[in-house]
Symmetry: C2
Subunit: 479 residues, 2 copies
C-alpha cells in the first residue's frame, strides 16, 4: 500500500521544501511543486477502519435524535487541513468529495483563519442582519470585490440567498414575475431527466435524479425533457452523439409547444452544465448553445444551475463559460463552493417592486466575507489554471486506468477536476468507494453506478498522482 510509505509528518513547517515520495511510483514522480505546503498534509494516514469506534459511537448517539443512517463518519475539522479530512478516530484521508463539492480552498485555509482572527470582522459573524432592509455599510463593496468580480457575462444583477434550493426557488419566481402575461393561466419550468435542482417543493418539481427524492411529495405538472446520454469515448461516437443531442433538443421544442397548448406555458428552462447528482452527465457545448437558441426562439428564460459546477472546479469560474454563448444565459444560480447561495441575472429580469424577491436573511454577510477572501485566494494562486492542470493529470490517469481495467472502469469523462467514471454496477461502485476510504481516499458516488471527483481547488497535480497511485493498487487487487 503505497500511501503507508509516504511521509507521515505534517507539511506545516514552511522551511520544509522537499517531500518524501513514494519510491517507484508511476505518478508521484511527476508531482508539481507544492505552493500550499504550509497548510496541507503529505499523505493519508489510516489508523482504524472507517467508520472507526469513535465514529460508530457518535452515530449511535445522533441516531437517537434523527435518522443518522446517511452519516459516513464523524470528523475532526480542527485537525483537517487542505485536501485532507481527519476523522474522530485519527484517520487522515485525501478528500476528493469535499463535503458534496462545497469546500472551495481546502480545510482550515490560513487565509480564512486570518479573516476569523481579525478583530474588525467579529461583528460580521455575530450580528446577522436582515440584508434586504438593513444592510451593513460594506455590503455593496464586499459584493463588488467578491461575487460581482466574477459575474457571468451579461448578468449585472445579483441577489444572495442562504442555500442552493432557495436560490433556484427564487430564480423560478424571478422568471415567473418577468414573464407575467395578463390572463395567462399557469406557468411551468422545463427541466431534464436526471437533473438535480434541490429538494424544496418548487425545486423538486425540476429534480429527477433519484425517485426516492420525490415519492409521496405533491408536485407540479411541469415538462421534463430527455438529457443526452453520450457514448464514450466521444471521438468514436461523434455521429451517434450528435444524433442523440438533436433528439433531446427536438423533444425540448415539442414539450414547449405541447405545454403551451395545455395552458402550462413554459416560461423558463433550467439546466446544469454537467448533471451532477444524476450521474455526471455531460453534453457538448454545441448542445447548450442550441438549447439557448431554442429558449430565445420560444421566449423562455434560460436558467443555468451552477450550484455544483460553479466556483472554478471545471477550470473556468463558471462551467457554462466553456459554451462561449453569443447570447448570454438569463439567470445563473450558485451555492456550495461560493459559501453563500444566490443568483445573477440580466437587468430585464429585475423585479419591478421591492419585497418581491425577499426573505428575512437573504444570505449572510459572514459568508460574503469569507467568500471575498476565497476569491482573492483563487485569483492570487491561479486556482482556475490549477484546476485545469490537476484535472488533466487526473483525467489522463483515469483514462490510463480505464485502458488497464476496462472491466471496472468505463465512460471516463471530465472537465477540469470535475471528473467521473462509471463502474459495472451500484454494488461494485459502492465497494470501490468503501475500499478507497479505508485506503485513505474519500470519494463520492453519483447516479446509479458512477464515481465522481469533487476535489477542492487546492487539489494539485501531485494530489492527482497520489490518488491514481492508491487507486491503481486498489484496482490491481479488486475482485
Amino acid at each position: 500500500m503505497a500511501f503507508v510509505l509516504a511521509a507521515r509528518q505534517l507539511a506545516c513547517s514552511p522551511q520544509q521544501k522537499l517531500r518524501l515520495l513514494v519510491p517507484g511510483s508511476r505518478y508521484i514522480s511527476q508531482a508539481a511543486a507544492k505552493v500550499d505546503v504550509e497548510f496541507d498534509y503529505d499523505a493519508p494516514l489510516m489508523k482504524t477502519e472507517v467508520p472507526g469506534p469513535r465514529s460508530r459511537e457518535l452515530m449511535k448517539q445522533l441516531n437517537i435524535i434523527q435518522n443518522a443512517e446517511a452519516v459516513h463518519f464523524f470528523c475532526n475539522y480542527e485537525e483537517s487541513r487542505g485536501n485532507y479530512l481527519v476523522d474522530v478516530d485519527g484517520n487522515r484521508m485525501l478528500d476528493l468529495y469535499s463535503q458534496i463539492s462545497s469546500v472551495p480552498i481546502g480545510y482550515s485555509h490560513p487565509a480564512l483563519v486570518k479573516v476569523l482572527q481579525q478583530p474588525q470582522n467579529v461583528s460580521t459573524f455575530i450580528n446577522r442582519p436582515a440584508l434586504g432592509i438593513l444592510p451593513p455599510e460594506n455590503f455593496v463593496e464586499r459584493l463588488q470585490e467578491s461575487l460581482m468580480s466574477v459575474a457571468p457575462k451579461g448578468m449585472s444583477q445579483l441577489i444572495t440567498m442562504a442555500c442552493g434550493s432557495c436560490s433556484n426557488e427564487n430564480a423560478f419566481k424571478t422568471i415567473f414575475m418577468w414573464y407575467r402575461a395578463p390572463g395567462c393561466p399557469d406557468y411551468s419550468i422545463l427541466s431534464f431527466m436526471g437533473a438535480f435542482h434541490g429538494r424544496t417543493l418548487g425545486c423538486l418539481a425540476t429534480t429527477h435524479s433519484k425517485s426516492i427524492h420525490k415519492i409521496d411529495i405533491p408536485s407540479f405538472d411541469w415538462p421534463i425533457a430527455p438529457f443526452p446520454r453520450l457514448k464514450y469515448p466521444l471521438e468514436e461516437f461523434v455521429k451517434e452523439n450528435q444524433q442523440e443531442e438533436a433528439r433531446c433538443l427536438e423533444e425540448v421544442e415539442d414539450l414547449i409547444v405541447k405545454y403551451r397548448k395545455k395552458k402550462k406555458t413554459v416560461v423558463g428552462v433550467i439546466v446544469e452544465p454537467i448533471q451532477s447528482e444524476g450521474g455526471d452527465n455531460h453534453a457538448s457545448d454545441d448542445f447548450f448553445r442550441k438549447l439557448r437558441d431554442i429558449t430565445r426562439k420560444h421566449g423562455c428564460a434560460f436558467l443555468v444551475d451552477e450550484v455544483q459546477t460553479g466556483g472554478g472546479c471545471t477550470g473556468k469560474f463558471w462551467a457554462h463559460e466553456h459554451w462561449d454563448l453569443d447570447d448570454p444565459a438569463d439567470l445563473m444560480t450558485f451555492s456550495k463552493k461560493m459559501m453563500t447561495g444566490g443568483f445573477f441575472h440580466k437587468e430585464e429580469f429585475r423585479p419591478n417592486a421591492p419585497y418581491r424577491i425577499f426573505n428575512t436573511w437573504l444570505g449572510d454577510p459572514a459568508k460574503n466575507l469569507l467568500l471575498a477572501e476565497v476569491i482573492n485566494v483563487i485569483k492570487r494562486e491561479d486556482l482556475l489554471d490549477n484546476a485545469a492542470r490537476a484535472g488533466k493529470v487526473l483525467l489522463t490517469g483515469l483514462l490510463d486506468l480505464q485502458a488497464r481495467y476496462p472491466q471496472f472502469i468505463s465512460r471516463v469523462r471530465g472537465r477540469g477536476t470535475f471528473c467521473s467514471f462509471d463502474t459495472p454496477d451500484e454494488s461494485v461502485r459502492n465497494k470501490l468507494i468503501l475500499i478507497a476510504r479505508n485506503k485513505g481516499v474519500v470519494l463520492g458516488g453519483c447516479g446509479d453506478k458512477s464515481i465522481r471527483f469533487r476535489p477542492m481547488l487546492v487539489f494539485r497535480e501531485h494530489h492527482a498522482h497520489l490518488f491514481l497511485n492508491i487507486f491503481s493498487d486498489i484496482l490491481a487487487d479488486f475482485k
Copy 2:
C-alpha cells in the same frame, strides 16, 4: 423631545451604576435596574434624518445591482450594541424590530464576542461541513446543550436547516412521508388566511398574508381556512370572540372533509401561534387546543410554525407552550432568533430511510455554536421572565396610550414583548413608523395597518419606559 435629554454617554463602563433619567417622565421613573449595563447604550442619539446622506448614497450604489427599494437604511453593526442599532450616519436607535425579529440577545453581545475570539472555535466558522454525512465530533453534544435543551413537549427528534422557509418545506415533506397511504392520489396542507410560512413555492402555497407575495407564482390547490378576527378589548367581546373562533374551527373541519372528497387529502395543518406578518392576529389558547383536537380526529399532522414567535419573546421559550396542550403538537419549525432554521418532531414522524430529509449543508454548526451560547445567556439572565416583565410594562403602557389616543391606537394586544396595535390606516401607520425612526426608535409594521413590537430578549422594563415616553410625545404632536 424627551430622548434628547437622556444621557448620551455609552453605558459600557461597568462601574456606572446610576443612570441619567428623563426628568418628569411618566414611565422612566419606574425603570428597573439594568443588568446588561456593560454592553447597551443609554438612549437614542440622532444626528441626521433617517436615511441620512451616507445611507442614501449607499442605497443608490446597491440599487445598481439589485432592487434596493426595500432598504430602510445602512447600518454600522460594529457600533451597534444591545438594544441599539447604529446607522452609517451615526444615528443610534432603540431597535424594537430586531432585524424582522431575528436578533436574540442584542447586538454585539459580549458572550458572542467571546465565542468568536476563542481560538478553538475558529475551525467551526471556516470549515462548514455537509452535516448529514460528515458531522463534526461535537455535533450531538452541541445540539444537546442547545436545541435539545429547549425541545418542545413530546418532540424527541430534531433536524437543522439553513432558514425558516427550508424548515417549513422539509416539515411538509416529513408530513407527506409520514402519511403516505398507498394509492392516495394527492396530499394537501391546510393553512389559514393571513398566515405567513415563507416564500419558496411549497411554503408560498400556505402563505396568505399579502397578495404581492403570490402574484404570478404557480401554486398548489390546498385548503385555506379563516383565522379568527378577534374584537378588542377581549373582556368586552367574550361571546362574540368565542363564536368567531367556533366558526373558524367549523370551517377547518368542513375543508378537511371537502378536500378528502376531492382527493386532495389534508395530511397536515400548519398554524402560527400568533399570525405575525399577517397583522399580529391572536386566537385564544382554547382555539388552538380545539384545533389540535380536530387534527387528531381527522388524522392530520399538527405543525406549529414558531419561526417568528419562538425563542422566548412571548415569555415562554415557544409561544405554543402557552396553550398547555395535553396532546402535544406533532412538529414545530423554528428559525430567526434561533440563528439556525430547523424543526422538532415526534418520533413517529421520523423518516424511514436516510437521505429523505436532506440537503448539502443541513444548517450550519457555526450557527449552532452561537445558539448554544445564546441559550446559555437566556437561562443565565432569566430572559424569559424578563420578556414577560418587560412585555407587561410595554402592554400596560400601550393600553394607557390607547385610552389617551383612541383616534390613533386600537386593538392593543400582546404576549410577552410580542405586542402590537392597530392604527386607523396604512398611511397613518407608515407615518408613525417614520416619525418614530427619526426620533430614534425602529418599529416594524405588519398586516394592513398594525405596528408590531419585536424587541430583543435583552429589552428591559426601562427600555419599555423609554419607548413609551418617546411615543407618547409623538402621539401628542401627531396630526
